[in-house]
C-alpha cells in the first residue's frame, strides 16, 4: 500500500473536521473503546481478528437504534481526495446503524483507501454489478443550513470518526 493516499485521506478528514484513529487488529479494541459512548450499536466487522466488544449491540431493535449514542460499522472503502467513507448497506444493517446513532464510527482497512473518485466509481460499479444494492458515499456528519445557520447533525449523525486498520 503506497502511503500517499493515506496521507491525503488523513488531511482530507482533518479538513472536514473528522478524527482519524490509526490502529492495528491487535490494538483495535483499545483504540475503539474511548470512542464508544453507551448505548452503542454496531454491525459485525468483516476483518479477521477484529471484533466489536460485547457492550456493542449488534442485533438492535428500532428502539436501540433510536437510543444509540454510537454506531460502529465497517466501511467498504475510503476516498482519499475527499475524506469520504463508502458504507455498503446490507442485511446486517450497516445503513441504519451508520445513520441513526449520534456518532458514527466507520472502520476502514488501509488497503481499501482509494485515491480519488475515479477509482471509487470503478469499485462502486463493480459492487453494483455484483449485487450490492446500496452504497453511501458519506463525507462528514449530516448537516443542514436550512434553519438559518449551519448545523451538524440534521437527520443523521452529528459526529463521525474514522478508524483506520493499518495492517490490512
Amino acid at each position: 500500500m503506497p502511503t500517499e493516499p493515506l496521507a491525503t485521506f488523513e488531511s482530507s478528514l482533518t479538513e472536514i473536521g473528522i478524527e482519524l484513529v490509526r490502529t492495528t487488529a491487535e490494538g483495535f479494541e483499545s483504540a475503539l473503546s474511548p470512542r464508544l459512548d453507551a448505548p452503542a450499536v454496531g454491525t459485525p466487522l468483516p476483518f479477521a481478528g477484529v471484533s466489536l466488544p460485547d457492550a456493542v449491540e449488534t442485533d438492535p431493535t428500532v428502539a436501540d437504534l433510536e437510543a444509540a449514542r454510537t454506531g460502529v460499522t465497517a466501511a467498504g472503502y475510503g476516498v482519499a481526495d475527499y475524506g469520504s467513507v463508502v458504507i455498503r448497506g446490507g442485511p446486517a444493517g450497516e445503513e441504519p446503524v451508520s445513520l441513526y446513532a449520534d456518532e458514527h464510527v466507520a472502520v476502514v482497512a488501509a488497503s481499501d483507501v482509494l485515491p480519488d473518485m475515479e477509482a471509487t466509481f470503478d469499485r462502486l460499479a463493480e459492487d453494483v454489478r455484483e449485487g450490492t444494492g446500496r452504497a453511501v458515499i458519506a463525507t462528514g456528519p449530516s448537516a443542514t443550513a436550512d434553519m438559518g445557520a449551519l448545523v451538524k447533525g440534521a437527520h443523521g449523525p452529528m459526529e463521525v470518526t474514522v478508524v483506520l486498520l493499518e495492517d490490512r
Partner: protein
C-alpha cells in the same frame, strides 16, 4: 404591458425586496462564494464540466433507448418502472401504489412539478416532507423559492416564530440548533410511522437501474430505509447511461450548488436492496419495539415523468434545458436572483436562470412569461453552469416566442428564429429599447433640443405612462457630433508606414452618440501606442434588440455590423471594441445570428479595448506613451460579460502597470443591465442590486477612490448612485 400591470409588478418586487430580499441575499452569497472557492480547488474543473456535458448530450440523444434499458434493469432487480406522460398520469399511478398509507418524502423538485402531495392528500394519504426546508414550507404553506434551498427566503427568526406558533413547544425554540433538533425529533417519529418513502433521483444509471441521491441531511436515506415501499420520482431526463457516468456529476453538483466539495451523502441505491426495514408494528404496538426486518422484499417503483420533456428534446433551443442537473448555480450567481429570490424570479415550480427553460417546457410559455424578463442576459451564470448550458440564450429565445404570442405548442419549429419582422403586438417598451440605434440616431441629429425635450416633465410622464420608462432614471444625453463624424473630420494620425498595427474601432451606439469622449480617448490611446485607427460607420450590435427578445431585429443589426466591418476584416485589421457586451456579442451570440465564417472572422479578430492595449504592451509598445497613474487610487468595477469572458484581468493589469492603485468590486452585476434599469417595473430592483456595488465603493478603503467602470450600463448605474462621476478605464490612459 399595461401601466397597471407594470405598477403591480413593481409593487410585488418591492414587497419581496422588503420581506425576503435580505435572507435570499445573505444565503445565495454564501453559496456563491462557496462555489468560487470550491471549484477553484479542482484542477480539472473545465474537463469535468466538458465530461458532464458530453454525458448529458449523449444521454438525451439516446433517451428512448436508455429508457428501455433502465426499465429492463430495474425490472430484473425486482422493481417496477412507470413512464408517465404527464403529472396527472404520474399522480394516478403513485396514488394507487400508496393506497392511502402514510408517506414520508425527501426533497424532489419533480414532485413539486407534479403537485403529488395534493394528489396524495386528496386520496386520503398523509404526506410529510422530511427535508428540513421543505418541512418549514409545508408547515408555513408556502412555495419553494430556490431549487436547492427551498426556504432560502426565510430567516431563522421567522422559522422560530412559525414553529413556536404552530407546535407550541414547552420552551420556545430560538437557535438554529434548537430548531433543527426539534424538527429531527418530530420528523423522526413520522418516519417511524410511515409505510411509504418517496424520493426524487438526481441521476438514474440505465445500465444497472441505480439511483443517485445527493443529500446532506440524511432524511432521504431514512425515508427509504425505514419504509416497506419506495417510490422514486424523476423526470425522464435524469437517466444517464452507466454507473461510471455518475462520477463527474458527483464531483460537480455540490460545488456548483452550495459550494460544498461533496454533500454529506451521495447514496447509490439499486433497489430493492437488502438493507433492513422497520417493517410492521412491534409486539406492544409501539413502533420503537420493533425489530429490524429483512429488506429484500421491499417494494420499489421508479416513476419517470415526461410532462413535456420529450417535446423539449425535439426543440433545438430548449433541448439544453434537459442537461440541467438542478444545482442552482445559475440562481446563486444571478444578481437579480440574489436580491429577490425565486418568488419573483421563478415560475410555477422552478426558479433562477434555467427556470425559463423548465417552465416553458413543462408548464407552458405563460408560466415563463411572468418572470423571464428578470434575466438580463448578463451571462454570469454561463460559466457557472456545470453542464455549460447557454441559459441567457434560452431566456432570449423564450422571450422572442412570448413576444410572438405563440404558446408553447412548438409551432416555432415552423417559424424558426428567422422571421422577417417583429410581431405587430410587441410591447411598445420592448420595441423602444430594442430599436435604440434608431432612437440614438434621431436623438443625436436633433441634439441638444432632443435632450431638452426628453428631459421635460410632461414628456417624462408620458414616457412613463406609455412606455414604462421610469422617470426617476436619468436619460442619456445625445451628442450632436457623433464619434464617426468627429473621426471623419479629424482623420487618422498614424501613417500606414509607421503603424505597428491597424485597427477598426467599433463605434457602438452609446459611444457613437452618447459617450463620444470615451471613443475619442480610445482613438488617442491606440494611436499613442502606434496603431493606425479607423472608425467605420457600423451600427448597433444587436445587443439592444436581443435583450428584448427581438431576435429577428438583432439578426439584421448583426448582419449590418458585419457588412460595415467586413472590409476592415478582409484587409487583416483588428477590430477593437469598447463596450464589453458587444465583444460578448461578437464572440458569443453572433454564432446564432450570422453565418459561421462571418462569426469566426469577428470572433478571431475582435478585442476588448483594454485587452488590446494589454496585448500591445505585451508585444513591445511603449507604455510611457500613456498617461501615468502616479499612485492614483481608483475603484474599478468590471462588467458582467467582460468577466464571463475572462477579460477583467487585462484592464487591472494595464492600470496597475501604469501606476494606478486599483481596488476591484466582486459583486456579480451593477444591476442596470442595458434597458433593465430604465423600466419602471424593474427600477427598484435595479437600484437595489446597484446598492450592493455602491456598498463596495463606499468602504473606508474605497470611498475616496475615483470610480472606473468598463460597461456603459455600469457607468450609468454608478453615475446615478454615487456622487463621484465614473469614467471608462481607457480615459485614464489618455495623455491627450
Amino acid at each position: 404591458m399595461a401601466v397597471d400591470d407594470r405598477r403591480r409588478k413593481a409593487e410585488r418586487i418591492r414587497h419581496l425586496l422588503e420581506t425576503e430580499g435580505d435572507s435570499v441575499r445573505e444565503n445565495t452569497r454564501v453559496f456563491n462564494e462557496g462555489r468560487y472557492e470550491s471549484t477553484a480547488d479542482l484542477d480539472d474543473y473545465e474537463e469535468l464540466k466538458d465530461e458532464a456535458r458530453a454525458i448529458k448530450e449523449d444521454a438525451i440523444e439516446r433517451l428512448p433507448e436508455l429508457l428501455d434499458r433502465v426499465t429492463e434493469a430495474v425490472e430484473a432487480n425486482g422493481g417496477s418502472v412507470y413512464l408517465a406522460d404527464d403529472a396527472a398520469d404520474a399522480n394516478r399511478y403513485i396514488t394507487e401504489v400508496v393506497d392511502g398509507r402514510n408517506v414520508v418524502k425527501s426533497k424532489s423538485m419533480t414532485s413539486e412539478e407534479m403537485d403529488v402531495n395534493d394528489a396524495l392528500e386528496e386520496s386520503g394519504a398523509d404526506v410529510r416532507e422530511t427535508d428540513l426546508a421543505e418541512f418549514v414550507l409545508q408547515v408555513a404553506d408556502e412555495a419553494p423559492s430556490h431549487i436547492v434551498a427551498p426556504a432560502i427566503h426565510k430567516s431563522r427568526e421567522e422559522i422560530a416564530d412559525l414553529f413556536n406558533e404552530v407546535f407550541d413547544p414547552e420552551e420556545p425554540l430560538e437557535t438554529a440548533e434548537e430548531l433543527t433538533r426539534f424538527a429531527r425529533e418530530y420528523l423522526g417519529e413520522e418516519i417511524l410511522d410511515a409505510e411509504v418513502g418517496m424520493t426524487g433521483a438526481n441521476f438514474v444509471a440505465a445500465d444497472t437501474g441505480t439511483l443517485a441521491l445527493v443529500t446532506s441531511e440524511g432524511n432521504a436515506r431514512k425515508c427509504v430505509q425505514a419504509t416497506d415501499t419506495h417510490v422514486a420520482v424523476a423526470g425522464v431526463e435524469k437517466v444517464i447511461p452507466s454507473v461510471e457516468d455518475l462520477r463527474p456529476f458527483v464531483e460537480l453538483i455540490g460545488r456548483s450548488g452550495t459550494g460544498q466539495d461533496l454533500t454529506s451523502y451521495v447514496s447509490l441505491l439499486t433497489p430493492p436492496g437488502d438493507s433492513p426495514t422497520f417493517g410492521g408494528s412491534g409486539e406492544s404496538g409501539s413502533p420503537g419495539d420493533r425489530d429490524l426486518e429483512p429488506g429484500d422484499d421491499r417494494e420499489f417503483h421508479l416513476v419517470l415523468i415526461d410532462n413535456g420533456r420529450m417535446a423539449m428534446r425535439e426543440d433545438d433551443d430548449l433541448r439544453e434545458t434537459l442537461y440541467c442537473i438542478r444545482c442552482s448555480a445559475c440562481a446563486n450567481s444571478c444578481a437579480n436572483f440574489q436580491h429577490v429570490g425565486g418568488h419573483a424570479f421563478g415560475g410555477e415550480t422552478y426558479s433562477g436562470g434555467i427556470a425559463t427553460g423548465w417552465e416553458a417546457g413543462v408548464h407552458g410559455q405563460e408560466s415563463a412569461a411572468e418572470f423571464n424578463d428578470l434575466c438580463t442576459g448578463c451571462s454570469r451564470c454561463v460559466n457557472q453552469c456545470p453542464v455549460k448550458i447557454d441559459i441567457p440564450w434560452i431566456n432570449t429565445v423564450v422571450r422572442d416566442r412570448i413576444n410572438r404570442g405563440t404558446d408553447g405548442e412548438f409551432d416555432f419549429l415552423v417559424e424558426g428564429l428567422t422571421p422577417d419582422a417583429e410581431p405587430g403586438g410587441l410591447d411598445p417598451q420592448k420595441r423602444l429599447f430594442g430599436n435604440f440605434d434608431t432612437l440614438a440616431r434621431l436623438g443625436s441629429a436633433f441634439a441638444p433640443v432632443s435632450n431638452r425635450i426628453a428631459r421635460s416633465g410632461p414628456v417624462r410622464s408620458l414616457m412613463e405612462r406609455t412606455l414604462g420608462v421610469d422617470r426617476r432614471r436619468e436619460l442619456p444625453a445625445f451628442e450632436r457630433e457623433t464619434l464617426v463624424e468627429w473621426f471623419e473630420a479629424r482623420g487618422p494620425r498614424v501613417s500606414p508606414d509607421e503603424a505597428r498595427r491597424t485597427a477598426a474601432l467599433y463605434p457602438d451606439a452609446y459611444t457613437n452618440y452618447v459617450r463620444t469622449e470615451r471613443g475619442k480617448a480610445a482613438v488617442r490611446v491606440l494611436e499613442a501606442l502606434g496603431v493606425r485607427v479607423e472608425v467605420p460607420a457600423a451600427g448597433e450590435s444587436g445587443r439592444a434588440p436581443l435583450s428584448q427578445g427581438m431576435v429577428s431585429t438583432a439578426r439584421s443589426n448583426a448582419e449590418a455590423v458585419y457588412e460595415a466591418l467586413a472590409p476592415s476584416l478582409a484587409a487583416g485589421r483588428d477590430v477593437v471594441v469598447i463596450e464589453p457586451s458587444d465583444v460578448a456579442m461578437f464572440r458569443g451570440e453572433y454564432e446564432r445570428l450570422l453565418p459561421e465564417d462571418e462569426h469566426a472572422a469577428l470572433r478571431e479578430d475582435s478585442y476588448e479595448v483594454m485587452e488590446y492595449v494589454h496585448g500591445l504592451l505585451a508585444n513591445g509598445a511603449d507604455a510611457d506613451a500613456l498617461a501615468a497613474g502616479d499612485g492614483e487610487r481608483i475603484a474599478y468595477h468590471s462588467h458582467c460579460q467582460q468577466r464571463t469572458l475572462g477579460l477583467e484581468p487585462h484592464t487591472v493589469s494595464v492600470l496597475e502597470e501604469r501606476g494606478f492603485d486599483v481596488a476591484t468590486s466582486d459583486v456579480e452585476c451593477c444591476g442596470m443591465a442595458g434597458s433593465f434599469g430604465y423600466k419602471s417595473e424593474y427600477y427598484d430592483l435595479s437600484v437595489d442590486v446597484g446598492e450592493s456595488l455602491v456598498d463596495q465603493f463606499t468602504t473606508d478603503d474605497t470611498a475616496d477612490r475615483a470610480v472606473v467602470a468598463s460597461g456603459t450600463s455600469c457607468l450609468e448605474q454608478l453615475d446615478a448612485l454615487l456622487s463621484r462621476r465614473p469614467a471608462h478605464p481607457v480615459r485614464l490612459l489618455d495623455a491627450r
